[in-house]
């Protein structure tokens, strides 16, 4: 159960480091603060250090250096108090395929020390809340990915935690399941005042849910602020042109080059550029493409996104960075498990 201290405090992290044997620092001296009731999005590619940070903040992995207080308790010296104040749904829904949803709730409520009379009621209430009351007596092995994630969330809430850690809660889910989970998480923060620390590699998830976002790359926080603040830092829009003939992709890129920075090919067969002079340059871009005689299929002006922020801070696109770091990530997690 949460305590008075837990109810007033969020998350405070100073110089947190986690080093693994013969490996790089998975988390390299991060500082962050999450206010009570806030949804904090921790955004980064695979292998950036998100999960390692969550494992440390949930007391499942001792930090190598630095300090962190969660719900007012020190993660290194007050582990049991931290665990009493937090709920967590870690990467990959850790469920027993042979147990039903109700049996999971029964186990979790009992292990958290809820009174016998309260266990069934709390389990039923949470299963209803996440829309699993009809599937409550079915074995979890037959649940869809979205149902498993919702059960995972319900299990994290049994002891009414003040702070909730969600490690990539929507990875692998279809858009409907993802949206349903977003609504649930948003409701937890707005209606119940739960502080949410959410890791994700989906830009739109951080954008849609988080009050503030921290962007982590190679164990460092490279940017932090509200999504609006971060985008405002970039300030300028990107224009993307897709030629009718894919063979013209390089010509488009050359034509866009003079209009700004970070001109490059896009995955849709066109090219994009961050406009140095803002959206007023759009007419000039059209004229330049026309002058080159390139037939254009699509021309789009993109407002700055969190991906632009990531690109600006790290020099890489978030999607590409994920692929690049995937190997490092699997090595990192092997060490965590070892």
């Amino acid at each position: 159960m949460s305590t008075d201290v837990g109810e007033q405090a969020g998350i405070e992290v100073e110089g947190l480091v986690r080093e693994f044997k013969n490996g790089p620092r998975a988390v390299d001296g991060i500082d962050l603060r999450v206010a009570p009731g806030e949804i904090y999005g921790f955004l980064g590619p695979n292998g950036a250090g998100k999960s390692t940070t969550v494992l440390m903040l949930t007391t499942l992995l001792p930090p190598t250096a630095g300090t962190a207080r969660v719900a007012g308790f020190d993660i290194a010296s007050e582990g049991p108090k931290v665990r009493g104040a937090i709920g967590a749904a870690l990467q990959e829904a850790a469920l027993d395929p042979l147990l039903t949803g109700s049996e999971h709730m029964r186990l979790q409520t009992a292990l958290h020390g809820l009174a016998k009379a309260e266990r069934v009621e709390r389990g039923r209430e949470l299963l209803t809340r996440v829309g699993l009351s009809e599937a409550a007596d079915r074995k979890v092995g037959g649940y869809s990915g979205g149902m498993k994630r919702r059960l995972d969330l319900a299990l994290a809430l049994v002891h009414r935690p003040r702070i909730l850690f969600l490690d990539e809660p929507t990875t692998g889910l279809d858009i409907q399941s993802r949206t349903a989970l977003w609504d649930e998480v948003a409701g937890l923060a707005s209606e119940d005042g739960v502080t949410v620390f959410l890791t994700t590699q989906y830009l739109e998830e951080a954008d849609a849910l988080a009050n503030r976002v921290g962007i982590i790359d190679h164990g460092h926080i490279v940017a932090e602020g509200t999504p609006a603040e971060l985008k405002a830092e970039i300030g300028r829009p990107t224009v993307e042109a897709v030629p009718r003939d894919p063979a013209d992709q390089e010509r488009v890129q050359r034509a866009l080059q003079p209009f700004g920075e970070r001109c490059g090919a896009t995955h849709r067969g066109g090219a994009s550029v961050l406009l140095a002079g803002g959206e007023s340059q759009l007419a000039d871009v059209v004229r330049a493409l026309d002058a080159e005689g390139i037939a254009i299929e699509q021309l789009q002006l993109h407002a700055p996104s969190l991906d632009d922020v990531f690109l600006a801070k790290t020099g890489r696109s978030l999607e590409g960075a994920g692929d690049e770091a995937a190997e490092a990530d699997s090595e990192e997690m092997e060490v965590v498990q070892a």
């Binding site: 949930t58 007391t59 499942l60 992995l61 001792p62 993660i75 290194a76 010296s77 582990g79 049991p80 931290v82 665990r83 009493g84 937090i86 709920g87 967590a88 870690l90 990467q91 990959e92 850790a94 469920l95 027993d96 042979l98 147990l99 049996e103 029964r106 186990l107 979790q108 009992a110 292990l111 958290h112 020390g113 074995k139 299990l155 498990q337 070892a338």
Partner: protein
């Protein structure tokens, strides 16, 4: 045991029993395989009863002790593999985030082994008796056989827990199976210890605790009540249990590095 600990053990035991009962693939081979070997051995080695000094004229009765040991080996696999899966899937991390005590986790996990041990012992004994084996110690002896079988199953189960916690891998637990089978074959499995004439084999079988576990079962089946053999059998099971629990507790502390 405090109320909280009792609840934790009870809930984890319930889960362990449910898991065991819902995996027929775990139960059925552990019942069929030892009975199949019993049928083969008791048919093929029947003439061994003609050896001077063989303690009974029914090889089936003599060989009936072996399935209890083989059943215990399956317990190592099942208990260890279940825990290894919990580690691999992150379920152990979920448990670690609750106020769960290590003792509750280990005891709860072994509850499934107890159920399996009771079922196995009941089936082996029933089939053996129906097939014509003798039970010199009578009904009371049958109860002690079940108790001994459960004790050995749980004791061996702790070894499965230890390996699962040390390795975190179901494959590593499965790797124990042939090792344990070697122990079984290098014991007085097929002949009484006194009739093993090859020196090196006699020496190894004499030092192998499995021999004395088998003799404890045989004492009840063949002789009746031999307190010395029973004390030795239960004593060895207790020592294996103590060592296995100590190792598993240490390994659990290393595995659960929660602060």
């Amino acid at each position: 045991m405090s109320g909280g600990l009792r609840t934790q053990v009870g809930q984890l035991a319930r889960r362990s029993v449910l898991r065991t009962m819902r995996q027929p693939a775990q139960i059925v081979p552990s019942l069929i395989f030892p009975l199949f070997l019993l049928a083969v051995n008791s048919g093929g080695l029947k003439s061994a009863t003609n050896l001077p000094g063989f303690p009974t004229d029914s090889y089936l009765t003599f060989a009936l002790a072996v399935p209890f040991m083989q059943g215990a080996l399956f317990s190592v696999m099942n208990t260890g593999t279940d825990l290894a899966r919990d580690i691999e899937t992150g379920f152990l991390n979920r448990l670690a985030l609750t106020p769960l005590r290590g003792a509750a986790l280990l005891s709860g996990l072994l509850a499934g082994a107890v159920v399996l041990g009771v079922v196995q012992a009941g089936v082996y004994l029933s089939v053996g008796l129906i097939a014509g084996a003798e039970l010199a110690a009578g009904f009371g002896g049958a109860l002690v056989i079940v108790a001994l079988s459960v004790s050995i199953t749980v004791a061996f189960g702790t070894i499965g827990l230890f390996v699962a916690l040390r390795s975190g891998s179901g494959e590593a637990v499965q790797g124990l199976f042939p090792v344990f089978f070697v122990f079984l074959f290098l014991s007085a499995m097929s002949l009484p210890l006194d009739l093993l004439e090859t020196d090196w084999f006699h020496a190894i079988a004499s030092a192998n605790p499995v021999t004395y576990l088998l003799e404890a079962f045989r004492s009840l089946l063949i002789e009746g009540w031999n307190i010395g053999d029973l004390a030795l059998g239960f004593g060895i099971a207790a020592v294996i249990l103590a060592i296995g629990m100590f190792g598993a507790s240490r390994a659990l502390k290393t595995r659960l590095v929660r602060t």
